[in-house]
């Protein structure tokens, strides 16, 4: 992974250190050799096309969620919102129009249905995106 120049520099540095520490105890010399050994021990080389392959996979992952799918999600949310509003709206307005809140009279069932539908759509969307990414990866 190192260039010949870096190797050369490091060896010069090691030689300089060795001569500077000629009187050091053998145990210190040993640890210096261990440091050098760890530093210069053979290491499998990283493939030269590594970054190109990573960039290709990142590109695939980005393309995995198509523009149509991206548009579909907000459209689904909008449809659910409008549908929920049309279904529960008149009853909500009627209740609000009475000034006195009658909690028992609120359309709880419809509201719960709309919220459940939205949560389910969001969960499906997330799962689809995750699956696309893992397939692309």
């Amino acid at each position: 992974m190192n260039t010949p120049w870096q190797d050369h520099e490091a060896r010069l540095q090691d030689q300089a250190l060795a001569s500077a520490n000629a009187d050091e105890p053998a145990s210190v010399t040993m640890y210096r050799h261990i440091y050098a050994g760890v530093r210069w021990a053979p290491m499998p080389a990283l493939a030269t096309d590594f970054s190109a392959r990573v960039l290709a996979r990142v590109g695939i992952a980005e393309e995995a969620v198509s523009p149509a799918e991206r548009r579909m999600v907000p459209m689904l949310f909008a449809t659910l919102g409008i549908g929920g509003g049309l279904t529960a709206g008149p009853q909500l307005l009627g209740v609000l129009g009475q000034f006195a809140f009658d909690f028992a009279g609120l359309p709880w069932l419809q509201a719960a249905a709309v919220l459940t539908a939205i949560a389910t759509a969001a969960a499906i969307d997330r799962t689809l995106v995750r699956n696309h990414r893992s397939q692309a990866a």
């Binding site: 053979p42 590594f50 990573v54």
Partner: protein, 186 residues
Amino acid sequence: MNDDQTLIADVINRQPGAFARLVQRHQRLVWHLIVRMVKNPADADELAQETFLMVHRKLAQFRAESSLSTWIGQIAFSLATRFLQRKRIPLVEPHDVDDDVLERISDDCDLAGSIADAELFGHVAAAMEKLPAIQRTLLTLFHLQEQTVEDAALITGLPIGTVKSYLFRARARLRAALEAHAGVAA
């Protein structure tokens, strides 16, 4: 804005070439860390790619609580750890054999006089292969990547004292292995 922040902003804003720069800048750290943990270059290559895919996905969540290289190192370490767990390869040894090693090493062995440099590197490499994955990885982070003990602790999620202890034990084991070889060679 520092260099890391500029690069992160460029990647998030999809500036051409920004992610390639990020990969180029950090691939050496990721590769060294993973290859020392999993050993097999093909597995390491796959895990290194997964690391950068995850970096790309989660970069917007990076909160700059550490340097970008430490954060990327954490992701690489976490993926490699999960890989070893799936393969049922222990990160640390189930029983600690280091204490025996520490008792065996001597203070006055003239290693330099017994083994030539080139030969020594080969023996260090062979001895490193026998270390537990966590010790190999910490040695690499500290001596090859020149990460501080604090950064190595952040990357591995270990306390600083534990990192120092593992480093000490790893070096002691390398020394013991080399002494044994020097004894044979002499």
